[in-house]
């Protein structure tokens, strides 16, 4: 064992390696990405790792490997599970031979996602066991337990951390590589009665699964990841002391009350620290749920029987709360259970420490009445800490900083070229998932819709069916194109749509931190491989108009858009220029020009560059247009739109080529 400072995702990766994982596949997505990246960096000789083309491909690949007896892991973010849900829902019935862990990272907030969906619900829906860690350290432990359980039960198992677990760092003890379990797959044993899904098999296995989950619920009641901690009430003197700092304390006779807090994930960590630090007026029992499915019903029942009232602290869906409600219903327990369903806690967004602190203060200090059978809040007092702060001088306004495309980002040039070329025409611009969603920001304002990975290509066809006089565009990134846009193009060509596909090819998966994809020519195993050529794919599907152009050659780019968009049917433009944050040697060679300069004599302060491009490197300093040299990459786009030629320097030798 040795100590490391690890991000939760890194801890999960090292836990999987310690469990002898053989095959790992996934698709990048915040907050899950670093799991697979860490496995690639620190893998053993017996680990295969890949970024698959999408989550469905990853899940199916992992299933095949698991049928062969390999220990496999598949990684994705919560919306990725929607893509992978088709194989998942059948795999549930078939099961696996080698241990299979499905790592799905949820994103309360949401901070970097389209939805606040809850994978714990998905686990219940798919009837698959689910672990929900409350720290990086617990995630490290749970992933190893998940492999063991998966193999023992012959079923895929979920590990479902949330953003604060995935991206939180912690110093923790991990195994040395010599201590890793070595797992040697037995190989696939043909047995069509086991591996081929048919209605009869599904019926038979459905019964077994229900029975298994009932047994697991019982076993999980004694699993250390589910627990009840007792906190005694403070001494009367300490309570008196604390009352001096707390306002609006309700009248209460609380000598015999026991308040229950049920918590999961990061909310458990918040609650634990608060309870350990706070002077407690009542006895408190803290229930931790580490396995939301199957729900540890026996443990929950004992908890409910020994507390007078319960507050649930969890994020996203009221999964744990529902588990408690169901338990209370089944065993006729009258313990009041408060949480999201009673609007006692927020129904959306993430729980913060401030929220948990305030809630617990209110909850633990307000008045209660108890008739011996049920307990309820006695009055509407809401205790809060006294503050000594006087009315402070009003703070000045803070700068608003929405995320924007980077200075020098080629997407800015691509969007601008389309905007200029289509000015005055009736258009709809369907966006997609990636950095280029930020093309929606002012002043570009070039993303009219964004739904989910690959949706834009099909949506553009839908708009065209209703409004045939509209020029319909779909913008899609290179990685998203491979992940889920190709079938959309096939659909468009086959069904005789009229649309322009714009591929924003920056030679990487930028938003999630530069992962390779089929168009980049390298893999996570470090191999250099043939690039899959998007232009050839499009021509293979049947497009006859496909043009590749460097978006930073603005005039050529605008002309290309005007010409191509006027063609009938499905046509495509590939805007090719590497991500400005990409640090490959070839990409770096493209930006050796240094920042552009403003010629003060020529600049008439019309601010066209600022108004039309919204580049973070173009700023106003002392009322005048200026270049922030720490940000400018010298892409030269602003130089090309300056009406008086007042900007010089920047990239003059622009060539379209392979830059990854």
């Amino acid at each position: 064992m040795h100590k490391e400072y690890l991000m939760g995702n890194e801890a999960i990766a090292l836990g999987a390696l310690a469990a002898g994982v053989n095959v790992v596949a996934g698709y990048p997505g915040t907050p899950s990405t670093e799991v697979l990246e860490t496995i690639a960096k620190r893998r053993t000789d017996s680990t295969y790792v890949e970024w698959s083309v999408n989550e469905k491909a990853a899940m199916e690949l992992a299933a095949g490997a698991a049928y062969s007896g390999a220990r496999t892991m598949v990684t994705m973010k919560q919306v990725g599970l929607n893509v992978a849900s088709d194989p998942l829902m059948s795999l549930e019935y078939v099961g696996v031979k080698g241990g299979m862990v499905i790592l799905v990272a949820d994103d309360p907030g949401p901070i970097s996602s389209q939805t606040e969906q809850d994978t714990r619900r998905f686990a219940g829906f798919a009837k698959l066991p689910c672990f929900d860690p409350s720290s990086a350290e617990e995630a490290y432990r749970m992933v190893q337990e998940a492999f063991a359980l998966s193999e023992e039960q012959g079923t895929p198992v979920f590990l479902r951390p949330t953003t604060r677990i995935c991206h939180g760092y912690q110093s923790l003890e991990v195994k040395d590589p010599e201590e890793y379990l070595v797992h040697t797959p037995e190989g696939f044993v043909k047995d069509s009665k086991r591996w081929v899904i048919f209605p009869r098999l599904s019926y038979a296995n459905h019964q077994k699964i229900v029975q298994r989950d009932e047994q697991l619920s019982e076993a999980f009641s004694t699993y250390p990841g589910n627990s009840v901690l007792d906190f005694p009430a403070a001494s009367p003197e300490k309570i008196k002391d604390a009352e001096r700092d707390i306002m609006d304390v309700g009248d209460v006779d609380c000598g015999t009350l026991t308040l229950g807090i049920a918590a999961s994930g990061i909310s458990y960590a918040y609650a634990l620290e608060t309870l350990e630090d706070m002077t407690l007026r009542h006895k408190v029992k803290l229930l931790k749920i580490g396995t939301p499915y199957p729900f540890p019903e026996q443990l929950a029942r004992e908890f409910l029987e020994n507390v007078d009232i319960v507050l649930c602290l969890e994020e996203l869906e009221p999964v744990m709360e529902d588990g408690l409600l169901l338990t209370a219903g089944r065993f006729h327990l009258s313990t009041p259970i408060l949480g999201r369903r009673t609007h006692t806690t927020a129904v959306a967004g993430e729980n913060t420490r401030a929220m948990v602190n305030d809630l617990l203060l209110t909850w633990l200090w307000q008045g209660y009445t108890s008739d011996g059978k049920t307990c309820s809040v006695s009055s509407s007092v809401s205790p809060r800490r006294k503050t000594t702060e006087d009315e402070k001088e009003k703070a000045p306004e803070l700068p608003v900083r929405p995320p924007v495309l980077c200075a020098g980002c080629p997407h800015r040039a691509s969007f601008y070229a389309v905007k200029v070329a289509m000015k005055g025409k009736k258009t709809v611009f369907c966006g997609d998932i990636g950095c280029y969603t930020l093309g929606n920001a002012m002043p570009l304002d070039m993303v009219d819709t964004c739904l989910c990975m690959g949706a834009g290509v099909n949506m553009a066809q839908g708009f065209g069916r209703v409004e045939p006089d509209t020029a319909c565009f779909a913008f899609v990134g290179d990685s998203t194109f491979f992940a889920s846009a190709i079938t959309g193009v096939v659909n468009a060509v086959y069904n005789q749509a009229n649309m322009t596909l714009i591929i924003l090819d920056n030679s990487t998966t930028a938003m999630t931190g530069h992962q390779p994809h089929p168009g980049t020519g390298h893999t996570m195993m470090g191999e250099i491989v043939a690039k899959i050529d998007m232009e050839q794919i499009l021509r293979g599907i049947g497009l006859t108009v496909v043009e590749t152009v460097n978006p930073l050659e603005l005039k050529k780019a605008v002309d290309t858009v005007a010409r191509v968009a006027a063609e009938p049917g499905v046509k495509a433009i590939i805007f090719k220029y590497p991500c400005i944050a990409l640090n490959s040697e070839k990409a770096k060679q493209l930006r050796t020009a240094g920042p552009v300069r403003i010629l003060p004599d020529k600049c008439i302060q019309c601010k066209k560059c600022i108004r039309e491009l919204g580049c973070p490197a173009l700023v106003v300093k002392d009322g005048k247009v200026a270049i922030d040299e720490t940000l400018c990459t010298g892409c030269g786009l602003c130089r090309q739109i300056c009406p008086t030629g007042a900007i010089e320097g920047g990239d003059l030798s622009l060539e379209v080529g392979d830059h990854a």
Binding site: K3, Y5, T30, P31, I111, S112, S135, R164, H167, G168, Y169, Q170, S171, I266, A269, Y270, L272, E273, E276, D277, T352, R353, A354, N357, K392, E393, A395, P396, L398, P399, V400, R401, P402, P403, V404, L405, C406, C435, L438, A441, M442, P443, M511, I610, R611, G614, C615, P616, L618, V619, V620, K621, D628, T630, L631
Partner: protein
């Protein structure tokens, strides 16, 4: 002893690296650490933060408002944004160089960080304002402002780790060709006090 440090800035200013260097220095002494930071879309020029906590009894990486011992801000507006995290008497260490947001340039706004800095100075908290414009000129590199700030913070004696411990962390964590520059930046920050 528990230490709660809030680091804040604009995406790209090296908030995360600064946080990791402090954590590495603390871990070297065997102190348990936790931290959390902004990752994802907001890194593209948005407001970013890192919460860093070490010592016994820390259960989660997040700092609650009013709990911070030190607020280390790489941009004056961002420092002010996080001020409520500081406990009474907590130390502010802020850069004075503003990063002008695109929204400000577009709307004809006049944000330059001066008002925010003035407010911080009058806030009643002990404050150390670092002339980061001068530091960029003297060091010739805007990318090491984070380490300049760390140097100043460690010199106050309140960071929980010493300048020497941070130097060891720099030697262990930063690629060799950048070490000299970062060590120079750290010393530059220390000498500002």
């Amino acid at each position: 002893m528990r230490k709660n440090i809030i680091l804040t800035g604009v995406g790209g200013q090296g908030t995360v690296l600064a946080s990791k260097l402090i954590a590495a220095a603390a871990m070297e002494k065997g102190i348990p650490c936790m931290s959390a930071e902004t990752i994802g879309m907001a890194q593209r020029g948005g407001s970013v933060f890192s919460h860093l906590r070490f010592g016994e009894g820390v259960r989660s990486p997040m700092i609650a408002p009013g709990e911070g011992d030190i607020l280390l801000g790489f941009e004056p507006g961002e420092t002010l944004r996080m001020l409520h995290f500081l406990k009474p008497g907590g130390q502010i260490i802020t850069a004075i160089r503003p990063v002008i947001p695109v929204t400000s340039a577009l709307s004809g706004g006049d944000y330059d960080g001066r008002l925010q800095l003035e407010y911080l100075k009058k806030s009643g908290y002990p404050i150390l304002a670092i002339d980061t414009d001068q530091a960029i000129r003297d060091l010739g590199n805007p990318k090491v402002i984070n380490v300049v700030m760390l140097g100043a913070a460690s010199e106050t004696g309140q960071l929980g780790v010493t300048p020497e411990e941070l130097k060891t962390a720099i030697r262990n964590r930063i690629p060799e060709k950048l070490q000299e520059l970062n060590l120079r930046a750290l010393d530059y920050g220390r000498e500002l006090l």
